[in-house]
């Protein structure tokens, strides 16, 4: 009896969590403009999405492209910066190390809205005209700590002598970094990159405050504006379903990779 209850509770929770996603996914296969009314099965919304045959189609497409480009650039740059920072923090000792780790964690806990407003004020103060570049800079700012956090454990797992061993065998510090450290840290860097990518992908608050007035839209700001205009563009439903699927696949990939490395180490 206890077991049944426990299981029921679990499934209830899962249902609660996944119901909205399922709801969107189901209604992406019907043409109705109003969300919630079923007008028969159709893949027309998917077709519209890819051909741009909808209201404001080009604006949505460019928002998607902006979102992906910004996420890719932000993830790449923050992976680079975060990895270097993690190596630096790892080599600190005692109090300094703790302080640096704390300073790294604060921006992650800090509410997005505060990060967004402070960056906005900073850009205004520095008289930087806001647009694409400021959004990318802002995204790099809040993504980097996540990369640091995913690379640090790899560094402490690593045999501390292997960098010295590479130097000893004739590698310059740059070569030792590239040929020995980077391959060792790669799993951490990859998860850091994916984390940064998804963080950037779904950011709204920071983007909203740093995009300026040039009419730059990412997916989140587009949807926000769209919803305010009254009623969501129906093509957003298949888009969200697709994004969810992509994230799901990424998650599965990360998990499978982790299982593999675990097996490798436990052997």
């Amino acid at each position: 009896m206890k077991k049944v209850l426990a299981k029921a509770y679990l499934y209830f929770l899962l249902a609660l969590l996944y119901a909205p996603l399922l709801f969107i996914a189901i209604f992406s296969f019907t043409e109705s403009r109003v969300l919630g009314s079923w007008t028969g099965f159709s893949t027309k919304l998917y077709a519209n999405l890819f051909t741009g045959g909808m209201n404001g189609g080009s604006a949505l497409t460019s928002a998607v492209i902006n979102t992906i480009l910004i996420a890719l650039i932000a993830a790449a740059v923050s992976t680079l910066l975060g990895t270097v920072a993690a190596i630096g923090i790892h080599n600190l000792k005692g109090r300094k190390k703790q302080t640096m780790q704390l300073l790294n964690n604060i921006p992650m806990i800090n509410p997005d809205i505060i990060t967004g407003v402070s960056l906005f004020l900073l850009f205004v103060f520095l008289k930087v005209s806001q647009g694409y570049a400021t959004v990318v800079l802002a995204h790099i700012t809040f993504c980097t700590p996540y990369v640091v956090l995913s690379v640090l454990p790899k560094l402490s797992q690593m045999n501390p002598n292997i960098y010295e061993a590479a130097l000893d065998l004739g590698a310059t510090p740059a070569k030792a970094l590239w040929k020995v450290l980077v391959p060792e840290l790669r799993p951490g860097m990859v998860s850091g990159f994916i984390l940064a990518f998804t963080m950037s992908l779904d950011d709204f608050a920071v983007t909203f405050f740093t995009r300026g007035t040039i009419g730059l839209d990412t997916l989140s700001t587009y949807i926000y504006a769209d919803a305010r205009k009254g009623g969501l563009t129906p093509e957003l439903r298949p888009l969200m379903t697709l994004i969810f699927l992509i994230v799901l696949i990424l998650l599965i990939v990360i998990n499978v990779r982790q299982e593999k490395t675990k097996k490798k180490y436990s052997k």
Partner: protein
């Protein structure tokens, strides 16, 4: 001639955070020699090796490689290679690529690389393992790969940092023999760091014994074992009984209340000395004829090849004896030590010597504290004096707060009928104490010196 030395270390010193880890190190290594740096953990041997490798810069002094100072050259430009204690193989590369790592960096042609790597694999008996991932190898196999990875570059000197410390005993013995064989075949100079005195005696041409950042003795294994130059070396290398003695005259020494013939000369007459007796050098017999002194067996333990016995001599000293025959505890035995087997050493000190300064007619300042004592006449306030305190006049107390000074038991030596302790005070001074009480290394103690135990004299300049 410095030219014969492949490595020549001159006046090397290094401190970490104000603590001197290496203090004025001088020694040289001949081409093709197998030199071992031996000492307890924390003696600075690994720091010394890492300075030769180039991972740490010395504070002072020079490291000459074939006559040229390499102190300022980064590790990747030094023609030396290191075998690390925890192997430090590259986990993302297979065995072949690990060994070829250095050659690829030097842009050695692939054909030659392959020939050299295969030759090395053969040398360390790992021929069929080239495609294996390093994670799938045992500790001993990983160490072989690490040795091959270093040697394939034909370094001028191979540095080994406790390479066998992580292996089990049987494996370690096998690897020792193999290392010796590799050294003979390749003709490369080896500098080997270990805390295992047996390993050092087995492998080395020359042993450098280090303790607390200072070289204690340099010599061949036989020299170091048979003629230790101080009580630290005698105690650290092999089993031994170290006793207080008096050199009566040339070739005659008194210890344990008996007079013995010995082979040492030139100490002077009636000079206090330390005497080392190795347990295998004491002859033990169940009759008194032909013996020099008698004793009673206290304990007898079987050690595989021999029995190890503790004998209480007729004069109350405890002596360790090893013999192929067992003698029952409680039995009366005769004992004999031959002149050749008695090693006589100069005492490093015969009492504690401190700097003192007169504060008033009845007080002096010494070791950062004020002490009551009889100040010699004619001394004024502020005069610098030398204070001497006998080893057995220093009192040790169980609680640090009870004493005038607080310290820690740093080193202890059993001298047959009492312990000789080295106490490191919280201010970093050394105090030597003779005591019958049993203390352990690391015990925290309070220290006091009784009124009247401090002997003052004028300092000589």
């Amino acid at each position: 001639m410095a030219k014969d030395y492949i490595i020549d270390i001159q006046h090397l010193s290094k401190s970490f955070g104000g603590v001197k880890v290496l203090d004025d190190i001088n020694f040289y290594v001949r081409r093709g020699e197998f030199v071992t740096l031996l000492g307890p953990s924390g003696c600075g041997k690994t720091t010394l090796l890492r300075q030769i490798a180039g991972f740490i810069a010395p504070d002072e002094g020079k490291i000459l490689l074939e006559g040229k100072d390499i102190s300022g050259i980064p590790p990747y430009e030094r023609p030396l290679n290191t075998v690390f204690q925890c192997y430090a193989l590259f986990p993302h590369l297979d065995v072949y690529d690990n060994i070829a790592f250095g050659l690829k960096l030097q842009k050695v042609p692939p054909k030659e690389t392959e020939v050299r790597v295969k030759k090395m694999l053969k040398m360390v008996s790992m021929t069929d393992y080239e495609d294996r991932s390093v994670d799938s190898l045992s500790g001993g196999q990983q160490q072989r790969v690490a040795i091959a990875r270093a040697l394939v570059n034909y370094p001028k000197v191979l540095l080994l940092d406790e390479p066998l410390a992580a292996l089990d005993l049987k494996m370690r013995k096998d690897m020792q023999m193999e290392l010796k064989e590799i050294h003979r075949k390749m003709g490369i100079t080896f500098i080997y760091v270990t805390h295992d005195q047996e390993e050092a005696l087995t492998l080395s041409d020359t042993i450098v014994v280090l303790n607390e950042g200072k070289i204690q003795q340099i010599g061949t294994p036989t020299d170091i074992y048979n003629e230790p130059c101080n009580s630290f070396v005698a105690d650290f290398i092999g089993d031994s009984t170290i006793l207080n003695g008096t050199m009566i005259c040339d070739r005659k020494v008194e210890f344990m209340g008996h007079e013995f013939d010995c082979v040492d000369e030139g100490f002077g007459e009636n000079v206090p000395v330390d005497v080392v007796v190795r347990p295998e050098d004491v002859y033990i017999m169940n009759h008194l004829e032909g013996s020099q002194f008698s004793g009673k067996v206290k304990s007898c333990i079987f050690k595989g090849v021999h029995y190890e016995m503790f004998v209480e001599t007729d004069t109350g000293y405890e002596l360790m004896v090893q013999d192929y025959n067992a003698f029952e505890p409680g039995s009366e035995v005769g004992l004999l030590i031959r002149p050749n087997d008695i090693q006589v050493m100069h005492k490093e000190r015969t009492c504690n010597t401190f700097k003192a300064r007169v504060s008033d007619a009845e007080h002096i300042e010494m070791l950062g504290r004020h002490w009551e004592c009889k100040v010699p006449e004619g001394c004024a306030e502020g005069d610098e004096l030398v204070a001497e305190v006998d080893f057995d006049k220093v009192e040790l107390l169980d609680h640090q707060d009870d004493g005038r000074l607080a310290g820690e038991v740093h080193f202890l030596l059993y001298k047959g009928d009492h312990y000789h302790l080295t106490i490191l005070t919280d201010d970093g001074d050394h105090i030597w104490v003779d005591t019958n009480d049993i203390w352990d290394k690391g015990d925290l103690v309070g220290i006091d010196i009784a009124f009247g135990a401090i002997k003052l004299s004028r300092s000589n300049g």
